[in-house]
């Protein structure tokens, strides 16, 4: 199967290990992986801020790069939602609209690709720690991914999984985290409290931006929390 892998901008810059883990896992599964080198961004920051014409610049280029694969695997739920759900709307009435509609059905967030497309849940991984899972809002509510990460975690050896009592946004929301930092931080505090209440050592997610938000507060307040991307756990043998 020929897949194109898109590693989003902040994963590329801040969490390259996550990108590496994704690439290595796909290669181990015997797939023909083509990494999309450029553009590095899906256009979501401009789109979410309302500057749709500016968003189209990077988005149009990325869309063209995504054509022609059996599947497009995207290294975050929020970027996955941008391409799969919002590109058809962003490009409505333009020449890119049919391309967006052509690419959307073959677009997958990484974990969802493993489980829902390949039917793979066991990667032979081992991670002897207590973990809890944070559902990124775009993953959960735009891409409707809930079971896939849990099925993957269930097959990781020696891992103890505890669900948080409540499903709630971490407060990142892209530029929202900088435009309204007081609200973003308050939401982050609630999230961290829920995570700590589980007794988990690690908060796991398939959204690096959420992990950046959670780790950001945990480090500043010296909370007993570490964060790790699910792909990195799955890559640990």
């Amino acid at each position: 199967m020929h897949v194109k892998l898109f590693i989003p901008c902040f994963v590329d810059l801040f969490y390259p290990e996550t990108g590496k883990a994704m690439y290595k896992i796909l290669k181990r599964l015997g797939l023909d992986v083509e990494v999309i080198e450029s553009p590095a961004c899906c256009g979501q920051p401009a789109f979410n801020t309302g500057y749709w014409d500016d968003a189209k610049v990077a988005a149009g280029k990325l869309l063209m790069q995504m054509r022609g694969a059996d599947a497009v695997v995207i290294g975050s739920g929020s970027c996955g939602a941008m391409v799969k759900v919002f590109y058809p709307e962003l490009f409505m009435g333009t020449e890119f609209e049919p391309i967006a509609k052509e690419v959307s059905p073959v677009c997958f967030e990484f974990c969802s690709f493993l489980v829902d497309k390949l039917g793979v849940t066991d990667l032979g991984a081992r991670f002897p720690h207590k973990v809890t899972y944070h559902d990124g809002c775009h993953s959960l509510r735009e891409m409707h991914i809930k079971e896939a990460p849990r099925l993957l975690l269930a097959r990781v050896r020696d891992l103890e999984f505890i669900e948080m009592k409540e499903t709630v946004c971490c407060g990142f929301g892209g530029t929202f985290s900088a435009k309204f930092p007081m609200i973003s931080t308050a939401m982050d505090e609630v999230k961290c409290e829920l995570a700590i209440q589980t007794g988990a050592e690690f908060v796991v997610s398939s959204d690096s931006s959420c992990l950046m938000q959670i780790q950001g507060i945990a480090d500043r307040k010296k909370l007993p929390l570490k964060t790790i991307h699910l792909a990195e756990i799955l890559n640990m043998q």
Partner: protein, 465 residues
């Protein structure tokens, strides 16, 4: 207007810093979710109920022209007087005129968010009329000189201790802070007011065209009393409340109660079809119903925003919104707060004054998931942002995105950016980080930033390709 944004940010900062208040609200809303989920589970199919409710309201909106004419005709044939108000000022002056004609001294009101929307109480007070809220939550915030904190639970931000102090100072009667005892204090105080009042003002939750009736949902019985004892009754109803059939209430009443209050059905759901009939022993001899536009036809005309008219004002979007939970209703500075307010206010009251509300969201989508009539609330926030960027673009934001595009779309420039970013961050950390010169200060004020990696993913891939 810049001052609206500044005020909002200041209010949000103040509210989010009040940890005790945040905890009170969070606990109340978490407990509410438990009872709401229990009641939702009683439905055979809550998801299908949402589909049906959304379809019925949509059908009502698409036929508003026919429904509003039928409603008016039926209501007038029942003896009510129907007035039309194209905006808030018009509605206020109609109500004021009725009150002046009646030479009213005391007015009692049941809960009406529409009356908040048109700032009715201020107008009546300034005109010298004693206007008393009778819903317990509205009564409490009126005594405090505040607007409602939540569109269904106006005083949920207050502790029983605060309410006791309030009653002690304003009513001189509050021996205990037990919620039941405090409720009885309000009951005793308001009882004689219902009896003395000349005019009762209500809102409406629905308006049934088929039979010419307004429908009022409540738990306390105050609206029942406001509609029973005074000689004149005035009802203010937004035109989007009109539904075609009586039968539709069998769906809407339980859904409103479940989503809004975690009850299968509210205590009193009452249909009023005009003034008392000749064979009835009581009730108002005049019933005035004011149909309010105030931007609703503007929303109706909007090709994208018109599904907002499906809103049944249940408040569930507020209940689940993490922004609302942390900053509370007063921070919004608007009649309608929470997600529905953040979507509506820029559309009906001006994008220039209210655009910031649509940006003050992480777009988590919890509101859309919770809405019983399936309004795509968080996507509306996105659409409002698009309108704001077109109408009132911020030059430096546009420039920043253009520059970012240049880097993001060129592998060479991207590599240059990541390499120089990695290098410069050491100086950044030593010098400006965490100070007011820090460009990332909105983030670093409260959170740590991860470092830019020495070798990005793309650099590693190029080496190992």
């Amino acid at each position: 207007m810049k001052s609206n944004v500044k005020n909002f940010k200041a209010a949000a900062l103040k509210s989010s810093s009040d940890l005790t208040r945040r905890r009170l609200i969070l606990n109340a809303l978490r407990n509410f979710e438990v009872t709401r989920n229990q009641k939702q589970a009683l439905f055979q199919d809550w998801g299908a109920a949402r589909e049906l409710a959304a379809a019925k309201k949509w059908d009502a909106i698409l036929n508003l022209d026919k429904n509003i004419e039928l409603f008016t005709k039926k209501l007038e044939s029942n003896g009510a007087k129907v007035h039309w108000a194209k905006d808030a000022e018009s509605a206020r002056s109609i109500i004021l005129q009725i009150i002046q004609e009646k030479k009213a001294k005391l007015i009692v009101k049941s809960k009406s968010m529409t009356s908040e929307e048109i700032h009715l109480n201020d107008t009546l007070t300034r005109a010298g009329f004693d206007t008393l809220e009778t819903d317990l939550g509205e009564f409490i915030v009126q005594l405090r000189g505040e607007g409602p904190f939540h569109i269904v639970f106006p005083a949920m931000h207050l502790t029983r201790g605060e309410i006791r102090e309030l009653f002690q100072s304003k009513l001189g009667d509050a021996p205990s802070d037990d919620p039941e005892a405090l409720t009885m204090v309000a009951r005793r105080f308001l009882r004689e007011k219902y009896i003395k009042a000349d005019i009762g003002i209500t809102g409406a939750n629905f308006a049934v065209a088929e039979t010419g009736m307004i429908s009022i949902t409540e738990n306390e019985g105050n609206a029942r009393l406001v509609s029973a004892l005074p000689r004149t009754m005035i009802t203010l109803v937004g035109i989007e409340k009109i539904i075609p059939r009586l039968d539709d209430l069998a769906l809407f009443l339980p859904m409103l109660a479940t989503a809004g209050a975690g009850q299968l059905i509210s205590c009193y759901n009452t249909l009023y079809s005009g003034p008392r009939r000749p064979d009835e022993p009581d009730g108002p001899s005049e019933h005035h119903v004011i149909l309010l536009d105030n931007g609703r036809t503007k929303v109706l005309a909007d090709p994208v925003a018109c599904d907002l008219l499906r809103c049944i004002r249940c408040g569930n979007c507020l209940n689940v919104c993490p922004v609302f939970r942390n900053i509370g209703g007063h921070s919004y500075g608007a009649a309608y707060c929470g997600p529905i307010g953040s979507v509506l206010m820029p559309i009906i009251a001006g994008i220039e004054q209210w655009y910031h509300l649509s940006y003050a969201s992480s777009l988590c989508g919890a509101c859309t998931e919770a809405c019983p009539v399936k309004i795509d609330l968080h996507h509306h926030l996105l659409k409002n942002r698009r309108t704001a960027a077109k109408t009132i673009p911020v030059w430096w934001q546009k420039l920043a995105f253009k520059i970012f595009n240049l880097f993001a779309c060129s592998p060479v420039l991207w590599r240059l950016m990541s390499k120089s970013g990695w290098f410069l961050q050491f100086f950044y950390v030593w010098s400006v980080k965490g100070t007011c010169l820090d460009p990332a200060y909105p983030w670093t004020k409260t959170r740590e930033l991860p470092p830019i990696a020495k070798e990005t993913f793309r650099e590693w891939y190029k080496k190992h390709e």
